[in-house]
Symmetry: C2
Subunit: 345 residues, 2 copies
DNA sequence: CTGAAAGCGCTAACAC
DNA sequence: GTGTTAGCGCTTTCAG
């Protein structure tokens, strides 16, 4: 492969000047820059990332760490971050952090995860890290701090780490307001639980939002109208079935995610009920699949969340460039579709 | 950060020996190795990936290039490859290769993609590449060859690149055989098209398999029973609706993917038809979502496909380790669920 | 089996 | 604005 020396020779300058010109440093005369760029192009020269990293201490590479590599929310957030980072000239190295099982909260028996924090993440390959919806143990946090590189956590506030998180209470409130404004008073809650990493953060906030909205509206909290499940379509089916079969049925269902809502959708129809005539249904996320079923949702723009996390990280990596100092807001919004309608009198 | 020198001092050996010991080279006495490992552990030393790369020429890093970063099939294949690679001690950097639009087949107006092939991929950051379901232009192939690193293509045979691909003809044949054995004679085809990169490879093979099966069974090919759509749920809905509304309706539908099948499922039910009593339905892929709807499918194990591609690449990266020389088979299989049943007489 | 020494390809002071 | 000169932190001949 062509090295910098060749380019220097062809352009008739020193390697230092080639380096400066190609890095876009200001201290290069236009004429020289032009000659260097031509020489580089003619030779098909591209700098060696490793050599550049070693010499400069900057990798132009950031790591994204995710608990799941093929679930919609995670990969969509990742894609958002990826685009911002590559547009800024960074490469992205993807790390998989296996969730700890509930019966092994410290990951004593999670070798892949141990290796990640003991080795992979410490190899100095990245300039910074984005951790998507991941809960770390104290030891892991210590390990991360040891590398002395910026870390941004997305959707999981944790001690000592800059975090971006959507306002889950407000999201739940928005969903409930929509239902309440349509005149519903018996509203069921298909809640989600996260069966790993002992993390009840998001599910808890959404449930709290549900209950608070009910109380604010002067309505009672009926335990028979609430049921939890994993954040999966199957879970939503079962939880909704249970709610619909117990006591006086609700006229509306609020599901803590779109996947749960899709499951609830099937459960409602399987009981011979119509949507929205008999039961209104709303979810959370913005999963395109919900659109196919006409399910009203609160879109939380996971791609934008990933992009925001990436921008936040870039801000720390390149303090020189001017960035808005304002706190990051992760927006969300109601998307009305045909699964919600006025309650019948 | 601790450097190799510190470890050498603590262990009372030279840096060369530390390097050898930690790399697992055989030419180190057990006693020395032991001392070095202890010293490294005590100091929390982890080698710098960049320094090691520069000195050795090996990155222990492979690139995965994908046209979509958040679609189930792609991310599932990626996850399969990721696991094999990280288990082998490699990091994975993820590249996004934007598909070329049909009105710009050479990507003249696709700056992100141009940059990928002109820069990112040439920075010598990786030891090899896995390209998932991606069609390259001649120029891109040339560019790739220039870097002189092994490349494995998954599910897209192309000139000059080692490729792994599932037998799409056989898959279609298996699906059709299932339907035919159930006594169906009017079978519709919800076909997929790929509206980018001018690539009609997979859709074409699946359609050919459909037609060939019909011919083999002595049945006629009825154009009214075939309709193409994008590989999306929406597309499946529309295509199925059209088939069900034209001429004498089929008693079974074969969809070229599970997403198409899910759309078809909704279309069938929306016309007041029952599954499988009125219409049988089969898809392709193994998408877990199809399971929720009870849709029979041909599972093609995308995770295993990704893993196979990764193993194939490792074989080229580490010719020393013993590997089976046998050609790679990508298996698939019929998964019967409740969407298919005997045709009524 | 181990050490000394020469780079890997580039960048960053420091001169001029 | 540009060249010279040290390294960045590690691996790898080459000796012994």
């Amino acid at each position: 492969m062509t090295r910098i020396q060749k380019v220097a020779e062809l352009a008739g300058v020193s390697t230092a000047t080639v380096s400066r010109a190609l890095a876009g440093k200001p201290s290069v005369s236009p004429a020289t820059r032009e000659r260097v760029e031509r020489a580089a192009r003619d030779l098909g020269y591209v700098v060696s990332a490793t050599a550049s990293s070693l010499a400069s201490g900057r990798n132009r590479n950031v790591g994204i760490v995710m608990p799941f590599l093929n679930r919609w929310f995670f990969t969509t957030a990742m894609a958002g971050a990826h685009r911002v980072l590559t547009d800024a000239g960074y490469d992205v190295t993807l790390y998989h952090c296996e969730p700890n099982r509930l019966d092994d909260p410290d990951g004593a028996d999670n070798p892949r995860r141990s290796r990640l924090f003991a080795d992979s993440l410490l190899r100095k390959r990245t300039d910074g890290l984005i951790m998507v919806t991941l809960s770390l143990t104290a030891a892991e946090r210590t390990s991360l701090h040891g590398i002395g590189k910026p870390v941004i956590a997305l959707d999981r506030p944790q001690e000592g780490i800059t975090a971006l998180a959507v306002d889950n209470l407000a999201i739940a409130h928005t969903a409930m307001s929509h239902l309440l404004e349509l005149g519903h008073t018996r509203i069921g809650f298909v809640g989600g639980i996260v069966p790993y990493d002992l993390d009840f953060h998001v599910p808890l906030l959404r449930r709290q939002g549900y209950e608070a909205s009910l109380v604010d509206a002067g309505l009672e909290i009926d335990p028979l109208l609430m049921c939890d499940a994993e954040f999966t379509v199957d879970g939503g089916y079962d939880a909704a079935s249970q709610i619909l079969g117990a006591g006086e049925p609700p006229t509306a269902l609020f599901a803590a995610s779109d996947e749960l809502a899709i499951g609830a959708h099937a459960a409602i129809r399987d009981r011979g009920l119509r949507i929205p005539e008999d039961v209104s249904l709303i979810g959370i996320d913005g999963n395109p699949l919900a659109e196919v079923f006409g399910i009203t949702t609160i879109d939380q723009h996971p791609d934008a969340q990933g992009a925001a996390a990436a921008r936040e990280l870039l801000k720390e990596l390149e303090p020189t460039s001017p960035h808005a100092a304002a706190a990051v807001r992760l927006p969300f919004e109601l998307v009305e579709r045909r699964s919600t309608a006025r309650a019948r009198d």
